[in-house]
Amino acid sequence: MRAGRIFLREARLGFAGGGGPAAPAAFFLACLTLAPLAIGQSPETLQAAGPGIICFVTLLAVLQGAERLFGEDVTDGTLEAYALSGMPLSIVALAKVLGVAAATMWPLPLVAWGAGIAYGLPAEAAGILALSLTAAIPGLCLITAMAAALAAGARRGGLVIALIAAPLAIPLMVFTASAGRASLAGDPAASANLMLSCASSLFLVALAPFAIAAALRARLE
């Protein structure tokens, strides 16, 4: 119940502040527009590279908001208020991250679906890719939140966040992009990869909140 309230509060703040869902979506679209200009417009190349590029750019779009995620909470006392609320800090962290993710990241799979079609994927393959991105985004948000909680307030925190989040994002990159590629090739492994994206994300939902809570608690002492 109170976790639900934190979810709603953070979702409202995420929706209203800093460009809301439009900022990551616009950044996402801009990167996806530049990629064909960089790698060439040959339809075969674009079709083959499309799922991978879309996945990779999703990671970038999630990372660009990471530095803001805990930065203000640490300085303005919100973190102390949450810690005093009597709820486990891990539940608070999960509610907060998923709230922000739900409010700001929902356009990404839609844009990804359109971009997949523009990259020459069949509608079905683009759909599978968008679905597995939907599954992966909560996981990616939790990974970047973990990195952001560890590096909040550090010098050049954005760089450090990207560096420590990258190795953690590998499984999601592999499974999500593979789902799109396998679906393009008509390979039944597509649904297996989709399931593995869901599994990786669920694994992070189960464990990442504890790491985030530990990182935040280190700041409160």
Binding site: R156, L168, P171, V174, A211, A218
Partner: protein
Amino acid sequence: MISYLANPKRFEAFARIAIPVCGGLALLLIAAGLWFGLLDSPPDRYQGDTIRIMYVHVPAAWLGLGLYLAMAVASFVYFIWRHNLADVAATALAPVGAVFAAICLVTGAIWGKPTWTVWWVWDARLTSMLIQFLLFLGYIALRAAIEDERLAARSAAILAMVGLVNLPIVRFSVEWWDGLLHQGATVFRADGPAIHGSQLLPLMIMVFGFTFLAGWMVLYRMRSAIMSRKAGNLQRIREAKA
């Protein structure tokens, strides 16, 4: 053992003996291993003389992984029991491990060029080692970026433990992503090592030599770090008095 050494005075006494012993053994074993490996062992039937790169490559790979495990264990000990020495150990281990991972990658590339005709392939084992290297860099960068020393130690310890949990998943997903080109486990196998004795002997000597080399560097760095912390404390006291 760990709680015995947690006392800095006992550690100092231990390090004073262990540092020269590790150093001496490292020099001796590496010299012997190089002699056997470079001069006194036959070239490989298929790989010719390039096999000799393995005598550096394999020990470096083992240490790249082993030192990360040691760093994660030290981080765990620091996180649970707050032994400062464990944090000193983790800090000392990180750059040493990163260098061994880098040596493994570079020697692997030098070996790959004549054998596979390319410097690099995106194969599961190579990619995992590259990721291992990135994990060390992330740890070092996070430590360097946070100014408050105690917060830096706590955050870095959490990162090292998270990286350790992540490691098997990365292995699995990277192997899923790619079929294997790199040869599989050759030394540690249920049916005995699949490597000839004339190659196994210098390899084992080099593995032990490199391990002592790493121990030497880590203990030396730990001792220096403890001394510099002490010096910092003394300076702070003097400034407070003045």
